[in-house]
Symmetry: C2
Subunit: 309 residues, 2 copies
């Protein structure tokens, strides 16, 4: 039997409620210790640089695999990643996913898990900063977990905003409100998704509503950060998907060498706690998205399982 | 256009003269500095351990890629490796090779390059120790570069020897001579290929003919070595395919912490020299095969090029 090779065409047909549920399951496995998620491994070559994220799920279907992408060609329209999944009982190859969507859909769905776990259940207004691929998947996952009545979208470029509204209209429950200034998007928003490539802060902390939840998808380094440093410092609840990956950033992470680094919790832990204790309504939260290894493998594995059904 | 996915069926149809030629080209590129070949990268998981060998060819067709296999499932009959090749001009995926043959055919062909470069051109008798997959590809590559009139095969297990003769008969120019003792194979042989999994020496240095050439494919560690330590020490010409990989073995390599480690040359250098100076007829040589990274990528790239022709 030939090995299944799935492409962006298959990935783009995924239901975001399914994917968010699969990712939530992956975090539960991580909390239970049945998801291996080591920090990623890079290999630099003359004309490119591979980044491998490796992971394994021990149960229910034992599998192991990796996703690889080339850091030197992230802006190439024809670039492709590879995600490969093996059955860890016998080392056989379960299947391969090519293209460039899987990683972004996975990151979007993890953002959805964070919003589901950390934002108010009656969240009404969503602000989205950025209109790239990551913004698309974040928006779709956010709409899979909350019923927003207003969605405001900002990016620097008006043409990008219009194209984004056009393209996303079939995937969101309300018309997107395009705004010219980030402050117009962020003021009074219950959930703020920051998914830009900006190396400078795109918002001010004073704009944020009490009790807001933020997703930080873009740059989070000392030398380049899309959120102001005082946002990281002032928000009481800081959560990431992978402390291992965050620690692998070392000195470059925006909060390294500050006392705030030590108070960052993990999404896996929060998911366990959210069932038993409810958060203070006035507390804001910030999800620092770094990419939990193994989640791409779980997503690909679920796709192969769906194909076989 | 769908991405080409080649399998063991395609790999098994390769012509060994082609593959040895491609590998020879890869070593020439390595000597010229146009083949990236970093040491391999491992990632240990609860239920397996991935080993990635990464490489890139800068010209003529710029490509980069990797081969990955799971060290924990090397004896599983259903295991599969993955080799992926990307175009390093735009990061697009050129193709994927699955199965378990490509690595062994590559290693066999590198053994062929070593025999072609280091053994006497009139080599007459070949001794082969081992009857596994690596022995099969070594034998076929050896026969692609030298006209042996006698080929003697030894392994501990008589049933394995018989099956090996049966299976290899269509690929070798003479009937294989099966022997019960390794000494019967090695005495007077011009070329000795040691491709066993033995952790203890399978030959004695005193059996070796003056001017013999050996390929050491199997264990070469302090704690496990298929050749006696004094073979490594007494043979004047020691050559490997990758000093970087050999150095990555660290203290575990059989010659580490001995003066002999420093006199190991590279096959890439020897290929350059063999054109201009001829070796003393009495000098024996030993090729220590460790797997030059990037050669799997070159082999897969050549296969995709052949497919497109």
């Amino acid at each position: 039997m030939p090995i299944p090779v799935l492409t962006d065409e298959h990935v783009s047909q995924l239901d975001y409620q399914d994917v968010v549920g699969w990712m939530q399951g992956a975090f539960q496995s991580h909390a239970e210790g049945t998801l291996d998620a080591p920090a990623r491994v890079n290999s630099k070559l003359t004309q490119g640089e591979f980044s491998f994220t490796i992971g394994a799920q021990i149960s229910p279907n034992p599998c192991m695999g990796f996703r690889v992408y080339d850091l030197a060609h992230l802006s190439s329209p024809t670039r492709s990643e590879v995600t490969a999944v093996f059955d860890s009982r016998d080392g056989s190859l379960t299947g391969i996913v090519t293209g460039k969507l899987l990683g972004a859909v996975r990151t979007g769905a993890i953002g959805g898990v964070a919003i589901s776990c950390l934002s108010k259940s009656n969240a009404n207004i969503l602000a989205l900063l950025g209109t790239g691929l990551q913004a698309r998947t974040q928006l779709r996952a956010a709409c899979a977990v909350r019923h927003f009545h207003e969605i405001r979208v900002y990016s620097r470029n008006a043409a990008n905003r219009n194209a984004f509204r056009e393209e996303m209209s079939e995937h969101v429950p309300v018309d997107l409100t395009l705004v010219n200034e980030p402050e117009q998007a962020v003021r009074d928003a219950d959930v703020v998704i920051c998914a830009t490539t900006s190396t400078q802060p795109v918002i001010k902390t004073s704009w944020l509503k009490k009790g807001v939840h933020l997703n930080n998808i873009g740059p989070k380094f000392k030398a380049a950060h899309e959120l102001p440093k005082d946002t990281y410092e002032q928000i009481p609840l800081l959560v990431t998907d992978s402390l291992k990956q965050l620690n692998a950033f070392g000195d470059t992470f925006v909060l390294s060498d500050t006392p705030h680094h030590d108070r960052i919790g993990t999404l896996a832990t929060m998911l366990g706690e959210s069932a038993t204790q409810s958060q203070n309504d006035q507390d804001s939260s910030l999800f620092i998205s770094v990419g939990l290894a193994g989640t791409e493998v779980v997503l690909a594995q679920r796709m192969f399982e769906s194909q076989l059904r």
